[in-house]
């Protein structure tokens, strides 16, 4: 029997592109050196006060607009009170009660890889501060306050998703939006993205018991978590142990690929929310909202549509290119370099992305520039080198980290396209292979390829294959 699966997501994304933190003047920057980007405010020394970073509010409202949310008339914040060592003040400044959040009741349309679409309903998006990061060692724990006070946008969907693939497609697209709007690097390796996942399954139309998985830190783990939970809960129902599915908080254990119980009854904690008295509420003007709306940059799906329409790319290829802004930017730079769009797309998708993935580097760290790629594709197009040589040149450029023009010279990679030279080489080969010519004329037409091979062998692959074929055809007719 198939069950109805319902999934809700909470996506936390750090705003990484502001100069200072959300409520303090400390630098907002990822640092490997612990406790280097901190201020007395982040550490809650007696007498400090929060001050709101207006740029964070602007970026939050921009996200709110993109998600088709309703914005509040006034901006203010609340305190969420609880004790934990990673929370120096003993409360987190956040936005909880409607209508406070920067965005409420929105939606986003998502395109699947097969071209179909689905709607994700957004419950709310709100601005808050991150906590310090903790590292638990054998018999001690360390605290790094660099992250304390870093601006964080928490997006909460309604329970409206029904498969792990859809959930991940939504998250990937959200990540792309954050990058496109220059709000966040959205790098999960730096802990900038963290997700909570709710899964429930049910035999009928009503929602089943909600099980929550906290702090899932990569999209592939989100996929695995959801699929594992569906399997676990389905098996429990089928085994007649439905009562064992309880409302609880679990965590995803990467090693075993399973989820493990953390605590029961998620609603048991009373955070005693109240309005932060140190931040006076202020009106969000229509003019400001209008200004923010206008400043929304080109979004990933807009680029995708452009790639399909203007550059004739397939929806699939366009979809891959836009996933990461840096890749899409690279692609557009290639086009500025006058590389033919389809050629650029092919190179990026078949060669560059694979290389980045294998080396675990980002496109920013990638040596080969769009200009280098232009040199390579242009050489192939002009027939200066063969496409096989083109691939070699691509590899050499990355290995040697040298300009491909220089490499072509050093490696003598110029294709032989001179007709006289090619004709003399071909004549020489034909003279040496009279027997094979007879076989060819007697109907063994595949001998043609043998002659091409011989030419390539003699020229170490540098002969222009198109010209070789032309000359050979002409010669063999005689």
């Amino acid at each position: 029997m198939k069950y109805n699966v319902t999934i809700g997501l909470e996506m936390h994304c750090e705003i990484s592109n502001t100069k200072s933190k959300v409520f303090s003047m400390a630098k907002n920057s990822y640092s490997e050196i612990a406790n280097s980007n901190i201020s007395p405010v982040d550490m809650a020394f007696p007498g400090v006060l929060p001050t709101v970073n207006k740029e964070c509010v602007r970026l939050s409202l921009m996200m709110s607009e993109i998600l088709h949310c309703k914005q509040p008339e006034y901006m203010y914040f609340e305190r969420k009170n609880y004790y934990y060592p990673d929370l120096p003040k003993g409360y987190q400044i956040t936005q909880n009660t409607p209508p406070i959040p920067v965005g409420m009741d929105g939606y986003l349309d998502i395109e699947r890889e097969d071209g179909s679409t689905f709607k994700v309903e957004i419950d709310n998006i709100h601005l808050e501060e991150d906590s310090a990061s903790m590292n638990h060692l054998y018999d001690t724990s360390t605290l790094d306050y660099n992250r304390a006070g870093v601006p964080l946008l928490e997006l909460v969907t309604k329970p409206c998703l029904h498969s792990a693939d859809d959930a991940v497609a939504f998250l990937e697209y959200m990540r792309a939006i954050y990058q496109y709007c220059d709000i966040s690097e959205a790098d999960s390796k730096k802990g900038q993205i963290r997700c909570d996942v709710n899964v429930s399954i049910s035999e009928n139309e009503e929602l089943g018991t909600k099980v929550e998985m906290k702090n899932v830190n990569s999209f592939s783990n989100v996929r695995d978590t959801i699929n594992y939970e569906i399997k676990r809960q389905t098996e429990l129902i089928q085994a007649g142990r439905k009562e064992e599915i309880v409302q609880e908080t679990r965590r995803y254990d990467e090693e075993s690929g399973t989820t493990v119980r953390m605590r029961e009854k998620v609603d048991a904690i009373d955070y005693r929310y109240f309005v932060e008295p140190n931040i006076p509420k202020y009106k969000i003007t229509k003019e400001w909202l209008e200004e923010i709306k206008k400043s929304i940059p080109e979004l990933p799906y807009e680029r995708k549509a452009k790639y399909i329409k203007e550059y004739n790319l397939s929806p699939y290829d366009a979809g891959i290119l836009i996933k990461e802004k840096a890749i899409a930017d690279y692609f557009e730079k290639c086009i500025q370099e006058k590389i033919e769009p389809k050629t650029a797309a092919n190179w990026i998708i078949t060669h560059i992305l694979g290389f980045l993935y294998k080396k675990e580097i980002s496109i920013e760290e990638f040596y080969l520039t769009p200009n280098h790629l232009f040199t390579i594709t242009e050489a192939i197009k002009n027939g200066t080198i063969s496409s096989k040589q083109g691939k070699e040149l691509f590899q050499y450029t990355l290995e040697l980290e040298k300009d491909p023009t220089v490499i072509m010279k050093e490696k003598h990679m110029l294709q032989i396209s001179d007709e006289t030279t090619l004709t003399s080489i071909i004549e020489e080969i034909l003279n040496e292979n009279q027997e094979q010519i007879n076989m060819y004329h007697n109907g063994k037409t595949n001998m043609f390829d043998y002659f091409v091979g011989q030419v390539m062998k003699k020229t170490k692959g540098q002969a222009n294959p198109v010209m070789v074929k032309e000359i050979l055809t002409a010669k063999l007719k005689n």
Binding site: P40, M43, A44, F45, P46, G47, V48, L49, P50, T51, V52, R79, N81, Y83, P85, P88, K89, G90, Y91, S141, D270, R272, F274, P277, N278, I279, P280
Partner: protein, 483 residues
């Protein structure tokens, strides 16, 4: 040291006295009164004289309540939790005074974190009133009031969440002024209840209070609740004409007929209040008695308790002993934190934390916290309505002079709660509010309070200034120490 700021400044400028001499004298007096009053948590013996400039405050000593963060100087909030805490940054308002050349010579004792009105809950013990050592100073700015009244220096900083500047000022026969909310930055003031907390000053004259607040105030990028007050000049506008100004008071609360079992003190206190009102009229002001909804008035103390405790519980959650303070003992972080907080806080504070937590709980919040906020709004709206018609709200402070520390037999059977608590209205609305001495009962000083609408600080101070000049209590110090 029993002189006012302007006079001291002139002496300094003319070279008749040096900043060094003033600092020495001030420190000497601080030590003299410390044994008897316990006004100080720290006497800054290493305080350095400052070059005298044209700034009125330059070279002149002053005191700082110990809940102001002062860089390199112990700042305890009079709490065991911070008994060894030496901050590495200075409160904005103190920094502003430093820029003008003011010399801090002591950190004064308060009720633990300002959460008390008696001056008896500091971790270093009880603060005694220099007019009578058997009496309290009230609180929480107890040490500041005691030291200013004793003539250690012309002024000391206070903070005021319910009446913490204005009541001790009355009990010690001096001036206590808290300006409009947000005029002085709270950055660096240990918070009690953020929406009610005010910085301010205790001095021996309205003029000195004006000079000091002129120096302390100003918009601060570190405190979002501050506003630009550069067009407000308190000292320059003191002598503004008060003729034609309209004052009001709560008729029923100040009517002795409504206290059938009143003792002599209360009788004299209210009688004296009405005498002062006469003086206002002599100054050309009109004074009218008004009535206010009794339900609202009776709600004052509970509204105050609910809001202040709720905010305090949250504000003091940073006191865990992990980042600062002496770390507690225990195997887990919970145990360490519990140990630190259990040992560090006095029972009174713990009681307030429990109230604060209780009223914020999901099931109680609507009934207590949200309702308290609503009633606060109603009270403030009512006051603002009065301020449409009147320039100032004038009331007696408390129900008489300073109470005995021990053996205070409450002779009054009548309920004097409103008399004792009405100053909280000034905190609910963030109104400017000043207490000045207006007489003596049994050789003990009593005070009167004037409160005005927000941003009307200049008007309120000019009224207080005129009234002060009509009476004989300006610049007075407690007799014991001046001898």
């Amino acid at each position: 040291m029993n002189k006012g700021i302007v006079e001291l400044h002139e002496l300094l400028k003319s070279g008749k006295v040096t900043s060094e001499e003033l600092v020495k004298e001030s420190l000497k007096k601080a030590h003299e009164i410390q044994e008897k009053t316990n006004a100080f948590v720290t006497i800054i013996d290493e305080a350095e004289p400052v070059k005298v400039t044209d700034e009125l405050l330059s070279g002149i000593p002053y005191g700082v309540k110990d809940n102001y963060s002062t860089k390199g100087i112990l700042s305890t909030g009079s709490s065991n939790t911070l008994k060894n805490y030496v901050p590495f940054f200075t409160a904005t308002s103190v920094e502003n005074l430093e820029k003008k050349g003011a010399v801090a010579i002591g950190k004064t004792t308060l009720d633990e974190f300002g959460m008390g009105g008696t001056g008896t809950t500091a971790h270093t013990g009880i603060v005694r009133n220099p007019w009578d050592y058997n009496r309290m100073c009230a609180g929480s700015s107890s040490g500041s009031a005691a030291s200013v009244a004793a003539g250690v220096y012309p002024y000391a900083l206070g903070s005021d969440t319910g009446d913490s500047i204005r009541k001790p000022a009355a009990y010690c026969g001096i001036v206590g002024y808290k300006p409009t909310y947000g005029m002085i930055s709270r950055y660096g003031l240990f918070p009690f209840a953020s929406s009610l907390d005010h910085c301010g000053v205790l001095s021996r004259s309205v003029e000195d209070a004006a000079i000091v607040v002129d120096a302390m105030k100003g918009i601060d990028p570190k405190d979002m609740t501050t506003w630009d007050s550069k067009d407000i000049h308190l000292y320059e506008t003191l002598k503004k004409e008060v003729k034609g100004k309209k004052l009001f008071y709560l008729k029923d609360v100040c009517d002795i007929e409504n206290y059938p079992d009143a003792n002599e003190e209360l009788k004299e206190h209210l009688e004296n209040f009405h005498k002062t009102l006469k003086k206002c009229e002599e100054l050309g002001m009109t004074v009218e008695g008004v009535s206010m909804d009794e339900k609202l008035l009776n709600a004052l103390p509970s509204v105050y308790v609910v809001i202040s405790c709720a905010e305090a519980t949250s504000n003091m959650s940073n006191l865990t002993g992990f980042i600062f303070g002496t770390r507690g003992e225990g195997k887990t972080y919970e145990e360490m934190m519990k140990d630190y907080r259990t040992k560090g806080f006095s029972p009174l504070i713990k009681r307030r934390f429990i109230i604060g937590s209780y009223v914020l709980q999901k099931e109680n919040q609507e009934k207590y916290f949200k309702n308290a906020q609503r009633v606060r709004r109603l009270i403030v709206d009512q006051m603002k309505e009065f301020f449409q018609k009147y320039d100032g709200f004038i009331m007696p402070v408390g129900s008489g002079p300073a109470k005995l520390l021990e053996g205070q037999e409450d002779m009054i059977k009548s309920d004097t709660t409103i008399l004792e608590e009405h100053l909280q209205i000034g905190n609910f609305g963030g109104f400017p509010s000043i207490t000045i001495p207006n007489g003596f009962i049994n050789d003990l000083p009593v005070g009167i309070n004037i409160t005005g609408n927000c941003y009307q600080d200049e008007n309120i101070l000019s009224i207080a200034y005129a009234l002060e000049n009509k009476m004989n209590y300006k610049g007075q110090t407690a007799p014991e120490v001046t001898k």
